[in-house]
């Protein structure tokens, strides 16, 4: 059977419905920018949201925007910038990725420190379940508790509960001032702990604050040694005061705001990327763990959000590197989340989708297991 629907969402729904009927698993693809991330998907056919594109509704004064899943973050950026607004999401991989994939993977970058994750910025979603049912959760208004929260459930489910076709996002007005600074620091656990203590004491939260190791600092801010790169936003007086507060750490240098885009796209092809996390108060220990990976794997780039307790490790591929990374990860007592890994390494990270409730939800939303089977590390 072939789809005859002209409405792209209806075409998608029909396609999934047919796949469920014939028990033919589908790999769900947005813009395809992360297809080489190494997650195992037991499917021969693919289904794409590429036909589902475009901004459906944007009322700047409401600070909300509804777009179809295949719309790129870049398109949203360009539409909102004209009105002095933005969708405060900067997932790794850059702005060429689609909104749908960003939500499905709950991908967030450094801005999450101030603006939260996609789950905090999404007001409603439409999706097609694995049974070919088109459903919606949430709505288009900024506050809504009507019905069970299907929106949060879909975000971060990697498409396994439904293919997101449309989403309504909360926007923010751009601040008067948005300034990036860097402070050179030593690459030691003590230094990152110093950053965390300062952040905890400050009466404001920077838009973003990343502690980067020397290898990464070299390409982002072009100086030797580690650094903290900070993005400050607000009115001019507030940003002036924020900037001054960071002099307590060391010398404050102006930095090129383009470094945030560079950070989002810095990983070399075939790099392995994994995030380690614990409570923020244990950031020194988590940084030490990450540094143990870096010391065995040349060229490893590390950056951490001290406020959130998360260290991201970008490990270039090389001889024996994957095996070493596997050993190091397996020995660590912290939350390990893979972003991009060779298939053999995924089980060295935790998998949180095998509990009875998650399995039950999966069976309910995708009874024939046709949506991205295997992608969450579950037994395919």
């Amino acid at each position: 059977m072939t789809s005859v629907a002209t409405d792209p969402v209806e075409a998608l729904r029909e396609r999934i419905s047919e796949a469920a009927h014939g028990a033919r698993p589908l790999r769900i693809v947005g813009r395809g920018t992360w297809l080489d991330a190494g997650r195992t998907v037991a499917a021969r056919e693919t289904i794409t949201t590429l036909e589902c594109t475009g901004i459906v509704d944007y009322v700047p004064d409401d600070l909300t925007l509804t777009a179809r899943a295949g719309t790129t973050l870049e398109e949203i950026r360009s539409a909102t910038t004209r009105h002095g607004q933005w969708l405060a999401l900067d997932p790794f991989g850059g702005a060429q990725g689609s909104l749908g994939a960003t939500l499905a993977t709950n991908s967030a970058g450094p801005l999450a420190a101030a603006f939260g994750h996609p789950r905090d910025l999404t007001l409603g979603v439409a999706f097609v379940t694995g049974a070919g049912v088109l459903a919606r959760g949430g709505g288009r208004v900024v506050k809504n508790v009507a019905g069970f929260d299907l929106t949060r459930l879909m975000i971060g489910a990697w498409g396994t509960l439904g293919v997101i076709t449309e989403a309504t996002m909360r926007l923010h007005a751009r601040p008067d001032a948005d300034v990036t600074i860097s402070v050179p620091l030593e690459d030691t656990p003590d230094e990152i702990e110093r950053v965390r203590r300062l952040l905890r004491r400050l009466p404001f939260a920077p838009f973003a604050c990343e502690f980067v190791n020397a290898a990464l600092a070299a390409s982002l801010v072009g100086h030797a040694g580690a650094a903290t790169v900070v993005r400050l936003g607000g009115n001019r007086e507030s940003v002036r005061a924020q900037r001054a507060a960071f002099t307590e750490l060391g010398t404050v240098n102006e930095a090129d705001p383009a470094l945030w885009d560079s950070l989002a796209t810095i990983e070399p092809p075939k790099a392995m990327v994994v995030r380690l996390s614990r409570l923020p108060s244990e950031i020194a220990r988590t940084w030490r763990d990450a540094s143990s990976i870096a010391s065995g794997c040349p060229g490893t780039l590390l950056h951490a959000s001290a406020a959130r307790g998360v260290v991201r490790c970008i490990v270039p591929d090389g001889d024996g590197v994957a095996a070493l990374l596997r050993t190091r990860l397996a020995a660590m007592e912290c939350t390990r989340i893979g972003e991009r890994l060779p298939p053999a390494l995924w089980d060295a990270c935790g998998s949180a989708s095998r509990d009875a409730l998650s399995v039950g939800i999966r069976e309910t939303f995708d009874p024939k297991r046709v949506l991205n089977p295997g992608i969450m590390g579950e037994l395919a």
Binding site: A20, V59, D61, D62, L63, T64, G84, N106, G116, D120, T129, G130, A131, G132, V133, L134, A135, R136, G137, G139, V141, V142, K143, N144, V145, A146, G147, F148, L150, R152, L153, G156, H172, A173, P175, L202, P203, F204, N235, R236, E237, S238, A241, L279, P280, S281, G309, V310, C334, T335, I337, S351, A352, D355, A356, L357, S358, I361, T364, F365
Partner: protein, 482 residues
């Protein structure tokens, strides 16, 4: 005793539950149950067959397991301050959780606290004030409502405009499923991976089970706070000022609107806050954060209000004046008790830009039905609370009030809004769910509920209309085959 389950609730069950929690903690005489026949919305009355009040986590688990064995439906209840009839038990067992009031731990360094479900909202903030922290969601009932109830309803409050609603502050939960299983949800000690089960549970209105402990995120107390009161000669002008403030990129901690009817009710009550009684509407605006730069935002807000027709803008000079301005807002519902013996409290959300139009429509609907609508609401996020004081003994007035409310809800939905922003669906709004969700969406919600509670025994009959759940039984396979 209207429920089919009622015959199962007999003396043997009461005895068994008494053996778990103690005889004094099991109520089954109608006179003892009177308190539990309504919640904060007095227009609904439902009589539980029995109420049980466990005092410890283990007692809660034992009670729920006993009910599971007997397949008896139950309704979890916190302080009973909810405004949607969500905590009413119709001929089934009511489980009161208000005795579980321990704050189990506070981790000030990481801004986390673990609490039992019966902890009163404001007492958590009081307990961490010395650490410079507070729990941000602040429903108007915060002096009485419990965090367990807040989790069930995904409660909001005035300061949620800047700080987010309950779901944005819940990190992890230990949940007791209706079948008696205890499961941990979320990860407090690192990033969360997998399905967002915490997000699914928060706001499930007691239909997914009972939260035994709740890990919340605490927020830092702001370095500085400024509270402004701007009064306007028309609702429209006030609504436009709201849009202008938000569009300017300023996110106030709170941005509340109080209309003339409400101002007059407040000013003639013991909660008089000094609001100008001749104004058509007032905005209560709070800005907080770092001291540096705050005055600049205050000046911007003040000039935006004036640009949009504010007659005066008053800035609270000290904490006492600020508290007084807030008291008028937070006690507005109480003040309406002077106007008439009963009050319908409504909760709907519209896009901010639709506020002027919808407020005019609400006014017209009130006129048409001969009822007085008092608006006091979270204007910054378009979350309306149209309230109608009335006398329930007057059957004609009651009928007109309900007709007006139904029209108001429909007007909000037609404007692109939703039927509840923070009070929940409960019993009160279950009839409106069809207005905003398709049968497929409702059936999907039912199916999600069935994963947590396949027997549908936890808070039966709430949130999703029963007919929508029946449909799911032919789906998804039958549906896909059609």
């Amino acid at each position: 005793m209207t429920s089919a389950a009622a015959p199962l609730i007999d003396r043997s069950l009461a005895d068994r539950l008494a053996a778990i929690v103690g005889e004094r903690r099991v109520l089954f005489r109608p006179s003892e149950l009177l308190t539990y026949t309504s919640d904060g919305l007095p227009s609904y009355h439902k009589q539980p067959a029995l109420a049980v009040f466990p005092g410890t986590r283990d007692e809660v688990i034992a009670v729920v397991r006993e009910l599971a064995e007997r397949h008896i439906p139950f309704v979890p209840r916190g302080a009973g301050t909810g405004l949607s009839g969500g905590a009413l038990a119709d001929g089934v067992v009511l489980i009161g959780l208000n005795r579980l009031t321990r704050i189990l731990s506070v981790d000030a360094e990481n801004g986390l606290a673990v609490v039992e479900p019966g902890v009163v909202n404001v007492s958590l903030s009081r307990a961490v004030v010395a650490d410079g922290l507070h729990y941000a969601p602040d429903p108007s009932s915060q002096a009485a409502c419990t965090i367990g109830g807040n989790v069930a309803e995904n409660a909001g409050g005035p300061h949620c405009l800047k700080y987010g609603v309950t779901t944005n502050h819940i990190v992890a939960l230990t949940v007791l499923l209706p079948d008696g299983r205890v499961v941990p949800l979320g990860n407090a000690a690192g990033e969360n991976e997998g399905y967002d089960l915490v997000g699914a549970f928060v706001g499930s209105e007691g239909c997914f089970g009972i939260a035994l402990d709740i890990t919340v995120r605490l927020s830092r107390n702001p370095e500085a706070v400024r509270t402004l009161l701007a009064d306007f000669m028309s609702l429209d002008a006030a609504a436009r000022a709201v849009s202008a403030i938000v569009a300017a990129g300023i996110v106030p901690a709170a941005l509340e609107m109080i209309d003339q009817a409400t101002i007059r009710a407040v000013e003639s009550s013991i909660y008089a806050a000094g609001y100008p009684t001749d104004a058509a509407a007032a905005l209560l605006i709070e800005l907080d954060g770092a001291a540096a730069g705050l005055e600049q935002d205050v000046a911007t807000v003040e000039s935006l209000c004036k640009e949009h027709g504010a007659r005066t803008v008053r800035i609270a000079r000290d904490e006492a004046e600020r508290a007084r301005l807030w008291q008028g807002r937070k006690k507005a519902f109480g003040a309406m008790g002077r106007v008439a013996p009963h009050l319908v409290v409504q909760d709907a959300v519209v896009p901010r830009t639709a506020l002027p139009r919808v407020l005019a429509e609400i006014h017209a609907i009130g006129e048409r039905h001969g009822v007085r609508v008092c608006n006091v609401f979270h204007a910054g996020d378009g979350n309306l609370h149209p309230n109608i004081p009335y006398n329930a003994a007057d059957a004609d007035e009651t009928r007109r009030v309900h007709a007006a409310m139904s029209e108001i809800m429909r007007a909000c939905v037609a404007a692109g809004g939703t039927i509840t922003g923070e009070h929940g669906v409960g019993l009160d709004k279950v009839g409106y769910m069809d207005l905003i969700f398709s049968p497929d969406s409702l059936a999907t919600m039912c199916a999600l509920r069935d994963v947590f509670d396949p027997e549908r025994r936890s808070n039966p009959g709430k949130v999703v209309p029963v007919h929508a759940c029946r449909e799911w039984h032919m789906a998804p396979s039958a549906r896909a085959a059609v």
